[in-house]
């Protein structure tokens, strides 16, 4: 353990070997005092942010294990990055066992909070807001854990992200729950990740509500074993404002829940209404790829009982008028591209209670112009598979 001898160590001197508390108030020099506290903290310590606005001009970072950063509330303590001048995110966490709670970030130039290789992290009552509403000039991700095992995002709020509000990438053992994602391109996205539960979130006014994607060419692939349940996914009809080039720039305005590639995704007990392109889109990866490790097809996506409306009446699809006419005024809630990996690995199984339609594509990467839309006839699902250890580890829930 490296001990420091610099003068700011006086901060620590009153404490015993037990965990210390470092209080950081808003006001002059707040950024430097906060960053010093983040660097000088020892494992087990708590950094307590006072109420008020903290003007931050440079990216903050935390690289000490088992530290808690706590504010006075997600409305009361605001880290204001409007004047940010460097770094790709507002706060970067690269250590394990970190708890972030009860504070907000506003207007980071890049991502909000990124935690990379940061296992067992808890985000509780964290708010990330781009205050000007949806804009392509906003940062990409609000809450952004990546390459980590053990992630709990609980009771958070993100709005305005030009990619995904809450984005979990290349990770395992994830719970995202009781959070609110509004006015983002994607509300919540689980990408190239396994063993994730997304539950009881309120996802509205995004371009697309909840996305579960697997993409090629990344260090970690093979996304799957995901449960989406009891989410309220309504009114996601904000025009797509993602900068072109990003994968979410292709998400159609009015998408409720979308699964692309991935194996074993269980979708049940959600309320999915007023998403005018489709309540559910299940599709293979659409672009060419050159990665032998990658499986572009969805496998065993189950749409079980969910509360949906009659269908989608204002789809952002070419030939929408003809489609609507063909389906009697509303597209069935489930839209499938028609692609399976093979006969033994059906892409999609669903309750007969929710009707579907298919593009009847016959090969991965086929242009949508060649679609032959028709009513779907999806196989019924049986018992859920054995989910195994899914969701954030129990010990993370003890920290909130």
């Amino acid at each position: 353990m490296i001990r420091t001898v610099i003068s700011t160590l006086a901060l620590l001197s009153a404490s015993s070997l037990a965990a210390a508390t470092h209080e950081v108030a808003a006001g002059a020099g707040a950024q430097e005092r906060l960053q010093e506290a983040l660097i000088l903290a020892e494992p087990g310590d708590e950094i307590v942010l006072g109420a008020g606005r903290f003007a931050i001009s440079d990216g903050l970072s935390l690289d000490v294990d088992n530290v808690t950063v706590r504010g006075a509330g997600m409305e009361a303590t605001v880290l204001d990055f409007t004047g940010q001048r460097d770094a790709g995110e507002g706060l970067l966490v690269t250590s394990d066992g970190v708890t972030l709670r009860n504070f907000a970030l506003e207007n980071p130039k890049g991502d909000g909070i990124k935690s990379k290789g940061a296992d067992d992290i808890v985000y509780h009552r964290i708010r990330v807001t781009w205050t000007n509403g949806p804009a392509a000039t906003n940062g990409a991700y609000g809450i952004y854990p990546v390459e980590s095992t053990g992630i709990l995002v609980d009771a958070c709020e993100v709005s305005g992200a030009s990619d995904a509000g809450i984005y979990v990438g290349q990770s395992k053992k994830i719970t995202v729950r009781d959070s609110i994602a509004t006015d983002n391109v994607a509300g919540i996205e689980i990408e190239n990740s396994r063993d994730a539960i997304v539950e009881r979130n309120f996802v509205t006014r995004n371009t697309g509500g909840i996305l579960v994607f697997d993409l090629p060419g990344l260090p970690v692939m093979g996304g799957g074993n995901v449960i989406l349940k009891q989410n309220l996914v309504v009114g996601n009809k904000t025009a797509n404002f993602a900068p072109p080039g990003n994968i979410v720039a292709g998400v159609r305005r009015g998408t409720g829940i979308m699964v692309m590639a991935n194996e074993k995704v269980w979708i049940s007990d959600n309320i999915v209404r007023d998403n005018p392109t489709a309540s559910f889109i299940i599709a293979a990866y659409t672009k060419p790829f050159d990665d032998a490790r990658y499986n572009p097809f969805p496998r065993e996506v189950v749409i079980a009982e969910n509360d949906v409306d009659e269908g989608s009446t204002d789809p952002q699809l070419d030939g929408a008028e003809q489609l609507l006419a063909g389906f009697g005024g509303a597209l069935p809630p489930i839209m499938w591209d028609g692609l399976n990996q093979d006969k033994d690995n059906p892409a999609l199984l669903a309750t007969p209670e929710i009707s579907s339609w298919t593009l009847n594509l016959t090969r991965q990467g086929q242009p949508l112009a060649e679609a032959q839309p028709g009513p779907g006839d999806l196989p019924a699902y049986g018992q859920p598979w054995e989910f195994g250890e899914i969701g954030a580890p129990e010990r993370l829930f003890d920290r909130i």
């Binding site: 353990m1 430097e32 770094a87 290349q170």
Partner: protein, 336 residues
């Protein structure tokens, strides 16, 4: 009371003694390099016989990199220290393996001649449990540099005449570039980015076991116009980007690998789609579109000074127009 405070008091007492001694110091203090403490002042290491003039102490050896990292045009004075009785080991064309007790010292300066102003000195110390990276900020009198764990900002005028708010990175940000597989590692002194003469001299000083045979070196940056464009550009990307863009480093999740030794076209960005670029994509679909630098994300991000878009994310606030030019020419001459 914490052990750190006790150690601090002890060092403070020692410092009192140091001030009585004749200065400037003339020899490196190995305990400052290898110990557990984070010395408050740069002078405590004794790296310099005359620090304001950047004259190194005996045993502290200056070096340069064939192609360096761009830092807003700062002049960078680099030194390596290997303690007495120890020898660094060459490992092929890669990083020299510097033994415990070694240090790398890099001073950033702006201005010429008498107008030269030292801004910061970053040190990398090889201690028993790994490398430690620390930033020291020079005082206005240019007599001492003081540890700045939280970094800082100050106005400087770059060689191109721009007045900028120069950012001294904080201690964690050192690790963002120097982190690899969870450890702090040096970036610069790879055999392929050092001259053959310097390596021979270092062997001659008894500080390096051998000068490795190299198939190819990263070219001298001054010669970028006359060397093959591929070598100039890949050398630039190696030293300016690959410390983050490689497996196990800060930008590993992007899947982009810009190391000199990476030859897979997709891994170096050719027709590679962005992962988490956000508005950094600039509306472009691929990192590199052969023959089309105007439609490549790589050049878009290198050409932007805007945080959240600009690459590299840390360590510079202006666009490196010379570096951008080399990378643009490299992409432009790729077969479409």
């Amino acid at each position: 009371m914490k052990a750190g405070v006790l150690a601090g008091l002890a060092v403070a007492a020692l410092l009192g003694a140091v001030t009585v001694r004749a200065n400037p110091q003339t020899a490196v203090d190995d305990t400052a390099v290898s110990g557990l403490d984070l010395p408050r002042n740069l002078s405590e290491f004794g790296f310099f016989a005359d620090a304001p003039a950047q004259q190194p102490s005996p045993g502290v050896v200056p070096y340069r990199l064939n192609t360096p990292l761009f830092s807003d045009g700062a002049e960078k004075l680099r030194f390596v220290y290997v303690p007495g009785g120890k020898v660094a080991k060459a490992r092929g064309e890669g990083l020299l393996a510097l033994p415990v007790g070694s240090a790398l010292i890099k001073t950033f300066a702006f201005g010429e001649g008498n107008g030269r102003r030292l801004i910061e000195t970053r040190v990398l110390l090889h201690r028993t449990d790994g490398w430690v990276a620390l930033p020291y900020r020079w005082n206005d009198q240019q007599t001492e540099a003081v540890l700045a764990v939280a970094g800082g900002r100050l106005p400087v005028t770059t060689p191109s005449g721009q007045t900028i708010s120069y950012r001294i990175p904080n201690k964690n940000q050192c690790k963002e570039c120097h982190g690899l597989n969870g450890e702090v590692v040096p970036i610069g002194p790879k055999a392929r980015n050092l001259s053959a003469d310097w390596l021979d001299d270092f062997v001659g000083l008894g500080k390096l076991d051998e000068a490795p045979e190299l198939a190819a070196r990263i070219p001298l940056w001054e010669e970028r116009a006359s060397v093959p464009i591929d070598a100039a550009a890949r050398g630039y990307l190696e030293t300016n980007c690959a410390h983050c863009h490689q497996p196990g480093a800060t930008a590993s999740n992007s899947g982009l690998d810009l190391r000199w030794e990476q030859h897979d076209p997709h891994a170096i960005g050719i027709f590679k789609r962005p992962v988490a670029a956000g508005r950094g994509s600039g509306g472009h679909e691929f990192d590199i579109v052969p023959g089309d630098p105007d439609d490549s994300i790589l050049t878009f991000r290198m050409g932007s000074p805007e945080p959240g878009v600009a690459m590299p994310e840390l360590g510079k606030s202006t666009v490196d127009s010379e570096g951008l030019d080399v990378v643009r020419r490299w992409i432009a001459q790729m077969q479409k």
